[in-house]
Symmetry: C2
Subunit: 493 residues, 2 copies
């Protein structure tokens, strides 16, 4: 696309001025509509070094109320950021509903730089492109407006700008080594940029190439495209998105009603012995995976009073507190609700070598959010493959991903609820909502069955923990975790 | 995608039967909703030979009223079809609003066959992929539901099916030489299919891979995907589509108000001499382009009473009547209105070596349809690049594409209207609508200016014919046509 790009005709000075004024006025009006319609806008500005990306962002934000936007100048990832999946630092910065994020260089810059410097093999590059396309599609599918600009200047223009900047000590700092390198390898960069843009040019998040030779003209191009994009997006209030095939390697799961619970028990003695042995093993494994920098993500879902908390305790009891975190997931905060539903999980991923245990998780999307009508049918239908994609990102990053469904029957739950009610020290654990949820057991069970069928993948499988006897469930969980970590570590070695 | 495809779990017999029944009942209900919401559905079934594509189509249509669908079994293009742009025979078959088209093999089959048999170079293949993506995007952007299925069976399964079919004389005819060849070159075909599907797998027209080993199960997969797709599409009633960058090589055009008209005259004598000379030249060129099989598409647009008819007459006066056609474009018929707005032009393209002259054209979209509110703003905004894409298809096919805007000023129009009114033999040429349009001269002029700026490309440029002196305009048109044909023919030679 970049290679056969044709410079657009530049309007005469007067026309340019008038159109720019009109676009600026329009943007000022649009921000109120954006707020009302809760449209989040992500503006990504990529392009050649010294093409003037930053200064155009400076111009655009003059016409947006400061409460409604955030600007991020993205540099190379820090050491800390390199310990997370590569999309994390971009996902973290997505705007809230009704607001703007403007990004000065972003995931294109990172991927193409790594490509140019030989960090990414062909295969890794293809995986990055897939990740990027999924990321952008997940945003637009979930109601985000994503506008991607590429600021284009010629090699000669770039060289002149670099020289001019370097001459004055006030501006010399703005020229990076990368800019100079780029200018010396302009054709090679062009090849990689062109290919990347072809690979990621989708109808819902297309590329717009900006002729960045003239500052005012560049601003006009961006402003007009921005206004048009917002207009279009504002019209699509409650869009339904075509559902994609769930093309992940699925593991067949039984229906909950077919999972035998009665015989799944352990004597106190066996339990104690096993617990001691497994916790010791897990402790050793934890040290090894810390050294090998293997990240681990463990999800707990299950019926109320099924024993999730106690199960998690037995797991963490064996772990070094500096190397794990338990994340209890309640209903989302207003900041979380205003963003993509996976945002609060992307922002809480462990560093490599660490373990994150989610007490409830993103699967709320296809259980409570589905059943309570907090999202549309199209939303939760889409969520099955969106979550498979999310976990595939984790897997590709090198994480061990395990998911537990803690299972009890309806009678057991009633017993435990009654016990909680009658035991003052446990009363805090029982809420009216628990009773309400209990009434919907059957529809929940159907939703859980569907979830297990559609999201148990080879790389992030569900395991059912039979928890009528909590001891049995705890030992089973520990065994599964130990086996999975051993497997991952032996693959690493 | 095909290569790392994972076979879905097949449900148990009873479940399969129940789900199939449910899907069939659902489809029967949906067809009425489709009709009400005017949703057109294009179902493309591609896949391996002997995978059972035809018989599944047979099953699906049992649940659709015969008035609501058409089935097309596409074979290799005929000699006649090869004389049109390759998408023509597919575009011709798109459904009307509220109806289904089911296609047994289609554009994937054609492109991949040509790729496998070395007809398409890398470059031609890339161009085909671009054409296909644009075609599908233009359909979905214009409200079509496009569902693409690939029927997948293993090499062994295919081989067994072919053998079984060949054994009986009643079924032997169903095995083509192509099927046998495919089975012998299964891996090579897999490579090409996989690549094509990767290349054309877009969020708005994604691929669904069907496990075609079991007939009932294959039917279930198709039916359930079909129902889900229809449900989703029904929710998107008046979708606004992101506008893409108009990335075509544009030629700068003057504003109509800046086109001098007064001095553009010719004396009767010069006119006659030139006319004779140019018509003779054009006649000779027409023969040559017939032999060289160069197709020509000429568009006439212009003000009412500007002299389009007389201008076209001078052009056709030089042509062999067997080799050209004049297509007067009035408001669309109900069948035309019920389809993509370019359909009536795709279905009226000339054969190669022929000339089609459109007296008014697809540009109605951004003039009358825009100004009379016959389409949404999003529709006509999109139309600029959709028409540039359409003409690029014609250009890539090898056509000479020329577009004339026949220009007069407002006073001249009034004179001619008055003359028509006062001359009984010309009164039929003047309607009330002409007067009404005249009142909107200024908004029309702005729309025409925008059209000229945005759709005059190097490969399909607009030419303004100054027609206050009709003789001048006629000679200018002839000169432009002669020059363009000479250029095309010398490039051919």
């Amino acid at each position: 696309m970049l290679k056969n790009w044709i410079r657009p005709a530049k309007p005469a000075k007067d026309e340019l001025k008038n159109r720019l004024k009109a676009a600026q006025a329009k943007l000022e009006t649009q921000q109120m509509l954006l707020k009302d319609k809760k449209l989040p806008v992500l503006v990504l500005i990529e392009g050649w070094g010294a093409a003037g990306k930053g200064s155009i962002i400076g111009q655009i934000i003059k016409h947006i109320d400061p409460r409604f936007f955030k600007v991020f100048s993205m540099n190379a990832p820090t050491q800390e950021e390199r310990r997370k999946p590569f999309l994390t630092r971009f996902f973290e910065k997505i705007p809230e509903a009704g607001k703007f994020t403007l990004m000065d260089s972003g995931w294109m810059d990172e991927v193409t730089k790594e490509r140019l410097h030989g960090v990414l093999t062909d295969e890794m590059y293809a995986q990055r492109v897939d990740s990027v396309k999924r990321f952008e599609r997940q945003l637009t599918d979930n109601g985000y407006l994503v506008l991607k600009f590429f600021f284009h200047i010629s090699q000669k223009e770039q060289s002149q700008r670099i020289s001019a900047l370097v001459e004055h000590k006030d501006t010399a700092w703005r020229v990076s080594r990368g800019d100079v390198w780029q200018n010396h390898h302009y054709e090679r960069c062009m090849d990689v940029f062109d290919r990347y843009m072809e690979d990621t040019n989708t109808p819902s998040a297309p590329w717009y190439i900006i002729d960045a030779k003239g500052k005012k003209f560049a601003e006009l191009q961006v402003m007009e495209t921005l206004c048009t994009g917002i207009d279009t997006a504002l019209q699509n209030d409650s869009l339904a998105v075509p559902l994609l095939q769930n093309v992940f390697p699925l593991v067949k799961m039984p229906k909950l009603s077919q999972v035998p619970l009665k015989d799944k028990t352990l004597s106190e003695q066996v339990y104690k012995e096993e617990l001691k042995k497994l916790q010791a093993q897990l402790g050793r494994l934890h040290n090894r995976l810390y050294r090998k920098r293997v990240p681990v993500v463990i999800v707990y879902e299950g019926w109320d009073a099924a024993g999730k908390g106690g199960n998690i305790k037995r797991l963490t009891g064996a772990l070094d507190p500096r190397g794990f975190e338990v994340l209890p997931i309640a209903s989302p905060s207003p900041q979380e609700k205003a963003r993509h539903y996976l945002w609060r999980f992307w922002t809480n991923l462990p560093k490599d070598g660490h373990i994150a245990i989610f007490d409830r998780s993103w699967y709320g999307r296809v259980m409570v959010e589905r059943l309570e009508g907090f999202c549309s049918e199209n939303d939760w239908q889409r969520a099955y493959y969106e979550m498979n994609e999310f976990e595939q990102e984790l897997h590709n990053w090198g994480a061990v991903v395990l998911k537990f469904w803690v299972q009890i029957d309806k009678d057991t739950q009633l017993e435990r609820f009654t016990d909680r009610q009658n035991t003052p020290s446990k009363q805090w654990k029982l809420t009216d909502e628990d009773w309400r949820n209990r009434e919907k057991w059957d529809v929940y069970e159907a939703a859980v069955d569907e979830m297990l069928q559609k999201t148990s993948t080879t790389y992030a499988p569900w395991h059912i923990l039979e928890s009528v006897d909590k001891r049995y469930a705890r030992i089973k969980a520990l065994k599964i975790v130990v086996a999975a970590l051993e497997k991952a570590l032996s693959a690493e070695a």
